[in-house]
Amino acid sequence: MEEKFGSRNDVIMAGLGGMGVLSAGKILSLAALKKYRYVSWLPSYGVEKRGGLCECTVIFSNEEIASPIIDRAQSLIIFEGSQLKAFEPRILSGGIILAESSGMEDGREARDYKIIEVPGLEIAVSMGMGQINNLILLGSYVGVTDAVPPELIEEELEIRYKTRKEVLKRNQEAFRRGIELGRTVEG
Amino acid sequence: MKNDENTRKKELVCGNPRIWKDPPGAMMYCSGCQHPVIHRIISEVLEEMDIYEEAICILGVGCHAFIQVSWSIDTLSCAHGRALDSATAIKRLNPDAIVFTVQGDGDCLAIGAGAFIGAMTRGERITTIMYNNTNYGTTGGQLAPTTLIGQKTTTTPLGRNPKLEGYPVRAAELAADFEGTVYSARGSVNSPANYKRAKKYIKKAFQKQIDGLGYSFVEVLSACPPNWHLSPVDCIKRIEEEIIPEFPLSEIKG
């Protein structure tokens, strides 16, 4: 990734309200801030805060970010498999889509991007928690792209869940599982 | 004025208040208008309480606002009805100032109703002196919220009809109803005795502000001879016979 896109990374995350799309994007942004000169995070969601379509665009770069709004990104993270089709047009050629495998429909056209199915929900359930697949997906993204050092994300998690040790632990575990998953796929 | 400590401390027994400019602002008013009389009370109170150096006056729009050219304290003339909004900000930013609004009944109760309610809701530590002459003086004697039932104005040529124009608003009672209001009274200047009483009310109102307790309000009845189509003497009679029964004089709160 680094070579192909230089010192810039951009990713569109999409899902439904309540899935932790925006917060995953925020965590990534804050982590990236420690490594990159410029970071932008643009949320977009429907009128209903829960259950409606929800996406954010995160860009981090050492060059000035011309626009926080982009049509297509190097990476897509799809939090709800059934939305893959709708968001496919927004990946750059040569990019990577990480998609939640549950809810995914068959019959996609072959295109010039790589798709990685992440059984985030399944893993989360096997870990006994449904609310953490956003971090499994974020972990996979970091595992695959190495866009930010994982420690920076972990630091962010520690700040975010400073007073809620249990939640912190769960999120860290989920994030680490995601990383592992991402690295295996890449290998 | 600041350097003139000695003269300031002496009791003034006659003549104009010291903070009045020469020639006095009363020259701008119709003969028999009682607005300058109320201005005079405020000036006397500011001097007697020795707070005129900290005072900032915020004016509404109407005949009452002519005072801006006739006294020498810091004064802000506002958008119509908004004096209490502007006063709010000044007091919040400069809590040591003595901040008071001078407003007419139309300015305070019609166009300025939102600002009036807002300031009382928040219990702003400011003082309002509202002049009530039961009509819009400056613009030629139109219906005001305080116009009496049956009173003829240029926009109620047949007299105020409650079915069409509703009923007079009693501002001092309304103000008293707010928890943020710590003092509310209604006075008049139609007799020397009432002059003294009104002055006492205004003094108390300022004292509440100095004590930092909340919003204080004094309504003062005022004559408007040209628009009432009465001689100055008959205006005083009207106040006694028609207006005071409708707007009773008293301390309603505090």
């Binding site: 942004s29 926080p68 | 004064t75 309610i117």
Partner: protein
């Protein structure tokens, strides 16, 4: 020393104001700028500064009138319907020569319109939207950093000219978060506010101050009458035009087609310029940073050189009127408007890809 932070556009208004030495914020809740009000509510009182939620936008602007008259740095923030409500007293502020800042985070209109981003108040903002025909400097940031910077500049310019200054943002800029260097920016010295109301005991000369907005009713010293006062105002506006024009040009030097945009659509347009340049197309951008005064001259110059223009704005046009004034019929002026959003909803926005299509069509 700058502190590097990750800040939402709406919050950057607060940081900018804080570092500009703002004394008081007066505001009324309205979407999509609620984070501004909330920021001041949580950050100002603990620093000994004034935050007050007014009873309406009419209340807010009249609080600014008072606070400014008393010599304080005061501001409010609102969105389009609130902007409409404030017009009367913005005009009074101009007339009374009271410096204050109004941040307008535009949303869709007319009426209650939408609660999302748009750029539909351009004309009322740049033409003096209230009674009497007046001018305010209008600063139009296009990034979160620039919101922070221009809020500070706004305070400086307001004090310099004793006039309200408008910061013109939009719902996208309000919602986006970006990395920002937070710091005080020094614009140079300003005159003391010896005209402000403080109570005569605090006036250096012991003389009273009177501030009013009716120069035609009561002459305002040193102007003997209304017309001489208007002449003074006219000179002030002319000085603002001469000295305060700000704009950015981006790859405009050799451009055959120039995009013109402010605010969030200027960012989208910059991306479009980059896309076009990758394909060897000579496209550039002129971005007004002051929407008033407007950069007519540079646009006219480009028109004389034979450039075409494409206005990119999230409204039905508005901005295009200024561009047409500038080019004086010398050049074609195309438009990508709110009708070209990628979704036909209030959540849709103008995207670089759509602008690029239009670029390819025009060039």
């Amino acid at each position: 020393m700058a502190e590097r932070m990750f800040v939402q556009g709406n919050e950057a208004v607060g940081w900018g104001a804080l570092y500009a030495g703002c004394d008081g914020f007066f505001g009324y809740p309205i979407t999509p700028q609620n984070e501004v009000t909330q920021w001041f509510a949580s950050e100002f009182p603990k620093r000994g500064k004034v935050f007050l939620q007014s009873q309406s936008e009419v209340g807010s602007i009249n609080m600014l009138y008072g606070g400014a008259a008393a010599g304080f740095r005061v501001m409010t923030s609102t969105s389009s319907p609130g902007w409409g409500l404030m017009q009367e007293t913005i005009s009074h502020c101009v007339a009374a020569e009271l410096p204050c800042i109004i941040v307008l985070v535009q949303r869709g209109g007319p009426g209650a319109g939408s609660i999302r981003h748009a750029q539909m108040d351009y004309i009322s903002v740049t033409r003096g939207g209230g009674q009497g025909g007046y001018k305010n400097i209008v600063l139009a940031p296009a990034s979160v950093q620039e919101i922070h910077d221009l809020v500070q500049l706004a305070f400086y310019l307001a004090d310099k000219y004793r006039n309200p200054t408008i910061v013109l943002a939009d719902g996208i800029l309000g919602q986006v978060s970006e990395s920002v260097d937070v710091k005080t920016i020094d614009f140079g010295p300003l005159n003391e506010k010896d005209w402000a109301l403080r109570g005569i005991g605090k006036q250096k000369d012991g003389k009273c101050r009177l501030i009013n907005s009716a120069a035609g009713v009561l002459p305002v010293p040193p102007y003997p009458n209304y017309i001489s006062w208007l002449r003074h105002m006219d000179e002030k506006y002319k000085q603002m035009e001469a000295d305060e024009l700000r704009y950015e040009t981006y790859k405009a030097e050799d451009a055959e087609l120039i995009l013109i945009a402010y605010g969030y659509t200027a960012r989208v347009s910059k991306e479009t310029v980059n896309m076009a340049r990758l394909q060897g197309l000579k496209v550039g951008l002129i971005r007004p940073i002051t929407a008033w005064p407007f950069p007519y001259d540079i646009i006219r110059e480009k028109a004389i050189q034979g450039c075409k223009f494409l206005v990119v704005v999230d409204s039905l046009g508005l901005l295009i009127e200024d561009v047409k004034i500038a080019v004086e019929s010398r050049a074609d002026v195309g438009l990508v408007s709110i009708l070209d959003r990628h979704l036909p909803t209030d959540g849709g926005m103008i995207m670089p890809g759509r602008v690029f299509e239009e670029v390819k069509r025009l060039i």
